[in-house]
C-alpha cells in the first residue's frame, strides 16, 4: 500500500497494462473471422451464415464487436467521391466567356476555378522551363499558334547550360561567398555532364514555382492567423491533420480536382507545404517580446511597416525553419507527384526504381538531393545577408555581379554558337548535354549491386529471413491479434492518465474513426511497421545524439548532417535499401529507420543543448561527474524536448512506411497507391490518408499533452 501511495501514477499504468493484456487473452478470434495470408488481414468468412435484419442481410454478430468493430464508415469514401464528382460537374453552373470559341459556355464553378488555376500554374512553370530549356508555349499564350508558325524565330531557345551554371555560381557568391559558389558551380556541372540536365531543369522549374508560392501563401495565412483568432481557430484543425497526412494521400483527390501534370503537382505540393509554413510563422510571431512590437510602434511604424520591418524579421529564425521545410516538402513532392504525371527527375527516379535499375535511380536521386541542398543553402544565405553601409564602393564594385553575369551570358552564347561547328552532326555539348548522352555511372552501380548480391547474398538472405520470420512476422501477428476493445482501452486509458478526460475523448474519437473504417487491420499493420521503426530509430538517435553532445564540434557536425539528410526527398531513401535488400519489408523498415533517426538525433542534441549553461556550471561546482550530470540534470531537463523529437520521429516513420508501399508493403499505403490508379479512388485515398493522419495524431496528442505538463512541472518554456 505504501508503495502504491508513493507512486500512484506507476500503479495506474500497471493497472492499465494488466487490463489490456487481460482483454487480449480473454477475447478470442471469433469463428467468423479468418486470417487470410494473401491479404494479410482478418476477413469475414464468406461462407458464414447470415440472418435477415430489417430486411437486410447481416453477417455481423453482436458479439464480434469486441474483436473488430463493424465497418460503419464504409459509406464515407463513396460519399466523398460522389460529392467531389457533384462539385466538379454539377454544382453551380455559371456562364463563362470562352476566348477560343468566342462564345459563352456553361460550366460548373469549381471546374472553371480549377481550370483557371491549373492554367495559371502551367503558365508559370512553362515560363521558367522555357527560359531554362527553350520552347514556345509561353509565347503562344501571349500570341497564338498561327503567329508562332509565321514567326518561328520567336521560339525561346533556352539557356545553354554553361550560362545557368555560371549564373547560379555568381548568385551563390553574391549571397554567401566562395564556398557556396563553388558548390553551386560543381552541382550544375555535375548535372550537366552526367546527362541529367533536362529532367533537372524540369524539376527546378517545378520547384521555383511551388516553393515561392508555398512560402507566400504560408506566410500570408500565418500572418492572418496571428492577427485574427477566428482565422486561427478555423485553420488549426486542418493544419494538425495536414501535418500528419501522408503525401501520397493528397495526390488522390487532387487527381480528380486538378487532373494530371506539373500544374496539378504544384497545387498538391502547395497543399502539403503550406501548413508547416503557417505553423512556423505563427510560432515565430507569437514568440516576439511585446516590447519589441511597442518599440516598433513608437518608432512610428504603420501596420504595414510593423509587420514587414519589425515582426517578420524578428521572427526570422522560425520563418527560416519554415522555408527549409517548404523546400524539403517541395523536393519530396517533386518525386512523389511523378505519380500524377509531373515531369523531371522524380519521374526518372520512379521509372528506374520500377525497372529495378538501381544505378539510374541513384543518379537521379543524387541530382535531386544536390539541387535540394543547394537551394536550401541559398535560401538560408539570402535570409542572413547583411548590407554593408560603410564601404565606399565604385560603380564596378557595386555591380560586379551583374557585370560578371552579363559577361558569362555573352561567353556562354559564343561557346554554344561555336559548339554548333565543333560538334557538327552530333549533339552540341556546349549547349545541352542530352539525357543518356552524358557520362553515366549507372552501369557501375548496377554492377556494384550485383556484386553485393553475389558476394553477400547468403548473409543478406539469412539476415532478411531471420528478421522477417523471427521478429517482424511475430510482431505483426501480435498486433493483428489485438481485439479492438483492448486497443481502445489501452489508448483511451493512456489518454486519460496523461491528459485527463479531454485528452481521452480526443484520442478515443480518433481511434474510433479508424476502427470503424474498413481498414482497421491495415492500420494495425501500418502501426506495427511504424512502431518497429520508431523504437529502433529512437534507440539509435538518442544514443548518437547523447554521444555527439559530449563534444561541441561533434554536436554541430551532427546537426549539420541531420540538416543535409533532412533535405533529401524521402523517396531517395528507398534507393540504397533496395540496392541491399531488394523488394522486401526489410528494405522499407531500414529506410524508415534511417529516415526517422534524423529527428530523433536532432531533437536529442537540441534538447541537451537547451539545458541552461548556468545549471551546467552549478552542477559541476557541486562536484557531480559527467555521467551523473547527464542522468541527474541534463536528461530530465532535456526530456520534454526529446519527446517532441519522438513525435517527429513517429510522423517521419509513418510517412516512410506509407511511401514504402511503393516497394510493396501490405499496409494502408498499399491501398492508397491502388487508389491512385483507380478512377473512383479519390474518396478511398483521402479516407485512407485521414486514417494515417489520425494514427499520427493519436501519438501527437498524447506526447504533446505530456510534454506541456512536464514543462510546466519543470518550470521551463
Amino acid at each position: 500500500m505504501e508503495f502504491i501511495k508513493k507512486y500512484p501514477k506507476l500503479f495506474q499504468w500497471l493497472f492499465l497494462l494488466i487490463v489490456f493484456f487481460g482483454l487480449c487473452f480473454a477475447i478470442d478470434v471469433p469463428e467468423t473471422y479468418k486470417f487470410i495470408r494473401g491479404q494479410a488481414e482478418f476477413v469475414k468468412d464468406p461462407n458464414q451464415s447470415f440472418y435477415i435484419f430489417l430486411g437486410k442481410e447481416v453477417r455481423y454478430y453482436a458479439f464480434d464487436v469486441f474483436w473488430r468493430l463493424p465497418p460503419l464508415l464504409g459509406w464515407l469514401p463513396i460519399w466523398i467521391n460522389d460529392s467531389l464528382f457533384f462539385l466538379m460537374n454539377e454544382w453551380m453552373p455559371i456562364e463563362f466567356w470562352n476566348e477560343d470559341t468566342q462564345e459563352f459556355r456553361t460550366r460548373p464553378l469549381v471546374l472553371q476555378i480549377s481550370r483557371n488555376l491549373t492554367a495559371f500554374m502551367t503558365f508559370l512553370i512553362e515560363l521558367i522551363r522555357e527560359i531554362l530549356l527553350g520552347g514556345l508555349e509561353t509565347i503562344v499564350v501571349f500570341t497564338s499558334w498561327d503567329w508562332i508558325d509565321k514567326n518561328p524565330w520567336a521560339e525561346l531557345p533556352g539557356l545553354p547550360w554553361t550560362i545557368v551554371a555560371a549564373g547560379s555560381a555568381i548568385l551563390a557568391y553574391k549571397l554567401s561567398g566562395k564556398g557556396l559558389a563553388l558548390f553551386a558551380g560543381l552541382v550544375m556541372v555535375y548535372i550537366s555532364i552526367f546527362g541529367q540536365w533536362k529532367p533537372s531543369m524540369q524539376t527546378l522549374s517545378f520547384i521555383l514555382v511551388a516553393a515561392p508560392l508555398s512560402f507566400i501563401f504560408g506566410l500570408g495565412l500565418g500572418i492572418a492567423a496571428f492577427k485574427s483568432k477566428r482565422v486561427e481557430k478555423a485553420l488549426y484543425p486542418i493544419l494538425l491533420v495536414m501535418q500528419t497526412m501522408p503525401q501520397y494521400a493528397v495526390l488522390v483527390p487532387a487527381l480528380v480536382l486538378f487532373g494530371v501534370g506539373d500544374q496539378a503537382a504544384v497545387i498538391v505540393t502547395m497543399v502539403v507545404a503550406v501548413p508547416p509554413m503557417i505553423l512556423l510563422t505563427i510560432l515565430g510571431l507569437r514568440a516576439i517580446p511585446p516590447e519589441v512590437i511597442e518599440a516598433g510602434k513608437m518608432s512610428g511604424c504603420n501596420n504595414w511597416q510593423l509587420m514587414f520591418k519589425v515582426l517578420i524579421p524578428t521572427a526570422r529564425r522560425d520563418i527560416l525553419i519554415g522555408v527549409n521545410q517548404v523546400i524539403m516538402v517541395c523536393f519530396s513532392m517533386a518525386v512523389i507527384s511523378a505519380f500524377i504525371g509531373a515531369k523531371g527527375l522524380g519521374f526518372n527516379l520512379l521509372l528506374a526504381l520500377n525497372q529495378l535499375n538501381i544505378g539510374l535511380a541513384l543518379e537521379a536521386g543524387l541530382c535531386i538531393s544536390l539541387i535540394a541542398i543547394l537551394l536550401d543553402k541559398m535560401s538560408l544565405a539570402w535570409a542572413n545577408k547583411q548590407t554593408d553601409y560603410f564601404g565606399n564602393l565604385t560603380f564596378f564594385q557595386r555591380n560586379k555581379n551583374i557585370l560578371f553575369f552579363a559577361a558569362t551570358v555573352i561567353i556562354g552564347i559564343i561557346l554554344a554558337y561555336a559548339g554548333t561547328f565543333l560538334f557538327k552532326g552530333s549533339y552540341n555539348y556546349l549547349f545541352e548535354v542530352p539525357h543518356n548522352k552524358g557520362i553515366s555511372t549507372a552501369d557501375f552501380w548496377n554492377k556494384g549491386v550485383d556484386w553485393i548480391f553475389d558476394t553477400f547474398f547468403v548473409y543478406i538472405k539469412a539476415f532478411n529471413t531471420w528478421l522477417i520470420q523471427d521478429v517482424l512476422q511475430p510482431m505483426r501477428a501480435l498486433y493483428l491479434r489485438m481485439p479492438v476493445v483492448a486497443t481502445l482501452v489501452l489508448v483511451v486509458g493512456a489518454g486519460y492518465l496523461i491528459g485527463g478526460i479531454r485528452s481521452a475523448l480526443v484520442v478515443c474519437g480518433l481511434t474510433l474513426f479508424i476502427a470503424l473504417s474498413p481498414w482497421w487491420d491495415r492500420a494495425l499493420v501500418t502501426a506495427y511497421m511504424a512502431t518497429f521503426g520508431v523504437i529502433v530509430s529512437c534507440i539509435i538517435g538518442f544514443t548518437v545524439g547523447t554521444l555527439c553532445f559530449q563534444n561541441k564540434h561533434s554536436a554541430s557536425f551532427m546537426l549539420g548532417v541531420c540538416d543535409i539528410f533532412q533535405t533529401f526527398p524521402s523517396f531517395v531513401y528507398l534507393i540504397p535499401v533496395m540496392m541491399l535488400f531488394g523488394i522486401t519489408d526489410t528494405s522499407v523498415l531500414i529506410a524508415v529507420i534511417v529516415y526517422a533517426t534524423i529527428p530523433a538525433t536532432r531533437y536529442t542534441i537540441e534538447g541537451l543543448r537547451s539545458v541552461p549553461v548556468g545549471l551546467h556550471d552549478a552542477a559541476t561546482m557541486s562536484g557531480v561527474n559527467k555521467f551523473q550530470r547527464l542522468t541527474k540534470i541534463e536528461f530530465p531537463l532535456a526530456f520534454p524536448h526529446m519527446m517532441l523529437g519522438l513525435n517527429q520521429t513517429i510522423v517521419f516513420a509513418l510517412f516512410m512506411v506509407i511511401i514504402g508501399a511503393f516497394i510493396g508493403t501490405e499496409d494502408l499505403g498499399q491501398y492508397i497507391l491502388k487508389a491512385l490508379s483507380d478512377k473512383k479512388g479519390a474518396g478511398i485515398g483521402f479516407t485512407l490518408g485521414i486514417c494515417v493522419a489520425f494514427i499520427g495524431l493519436i501519438f501527437d496528442n498524447l506526447i504533446r499533452t505530456w510534454v506541456e505538463k512536464r514543462k510546466k512541472h519543470l518550470g521551463i518554456n
Partner: protein, 343 residues
Amino acid sequence: MSNPVIKCESVYKIFGENAKKMLQDSNGNVDAKTFQENGCIVGVNNASFEVSKGEMLVVMGLSGSGKSTLLRCISRLTDATDGKIFIEGQDLLSLKNKELIELRRNKMGMVFQSFALLPHKTVVENIAFPLQIKGIKTEDSISKAMDMVKLVGLDGRENYFPRELSGGQQQRVGIARSLAVEPDIWFLDEPFSALDPLIRKEMQDEFLRLQDKLQKTIMFITHDFDEALKLADRIAIMKDGIIEQLDTPANIVLNPATEYVRKFTEEVPREKVLLIEDVMDPSTTDNLGDLKVLKDEIIENVAEKILTQEKSVAVLDNKNKIVGSINPTKIINTVFGGRKNNN
C-alpha cells in the same frame, strides 16, 4: 503651466475582461483589492497631472506600482480604460491612427525597460530604424545614426548585433535610437538601470547637459532616488497605480503627503535634496562670518565650506542681497540629525 505639453485627467488603466464595466460601476472609486477579486488588475488609478515644456518629471514607486503602465498610456501603446490625455493640447485618445503615427514619428521618443532592440539589425541599423521608417534616405539616416552611436560612446561597435552587446551597451543603443528623431517628448523607462555606476554617472551628466541644451519634455522612470534627485524637476510617487504625491524633490522630502511617501523618502539623504533656502534662518541677517552662499545651492555642495566656519554664514539671493543666515550646527543637524523629526 499655461500650456502643458502632457496633461492627464483622471486616467485609469485596468487590465481584465470586464474592466470597463467594473470601472463604471465603481464611480471612480477604484479599490485594487476588490478589483483583483473580480479578476481585474489595476495598472493606473486616477492619475491627473500636467507636465510643462522643458520639465522633467521623474516617476518612482515599487515594482508593479504601475509606472510603466502609466507611460504606456501616455504614449498610447495601450489605450487607457478611462480618462483624458492631452499632448500639446491634442486629445490623444481621439487621434486617428495616421495622426498617432505622425505624432510618434515626429514628437515622441521612448526608451524601454528591457531595451526592445530589433534582434536582426545591427547597432547602427537599430538606431537608424525610426529615421528610415520616417522615410529618410538610407545614407542620411545612417550618418545621423552614426552621430548617435558616437554620442552614446559605442563607436567601433556599430556593426554589432544586439545579442553581441552587454545589457548596458544595449540600453545605450535604445537611448540613441529614441534620440535619433530628436523628439520633443521623451519617455524613459528605467534607462540607466542596466548601466554600471561609472557609465551611469556619465550618462546622467550627459543627459543633464543635453536637457539643458534641448529642453525636452521628459517623463523618466527610475528606482534610484539619487538619480531622481539629480535629474528631477518634480517627482511623482506611485503606489498600486495611484499617484500618491507629485511635487518638487524638496517638498516630497519635507512635506510627505501620505504615510507611504514618508516611508518611501525616509532613507533619502536630505542634504542632497534640500536647498540652503529650505533650512536657512531668514530672521537673522547680522553678526555673520565672511563666507557667503547662494540660497538655491544644494546643501551637499556647500556643507563642507559652511562647516569650516564658526559663525553663521550669510545667505544671498540672486541679486547678492543677504536674505538670511545659516548656522553650521543646522547643517550638522540636517545631515546627521534625526531624519524622523523633520526640520
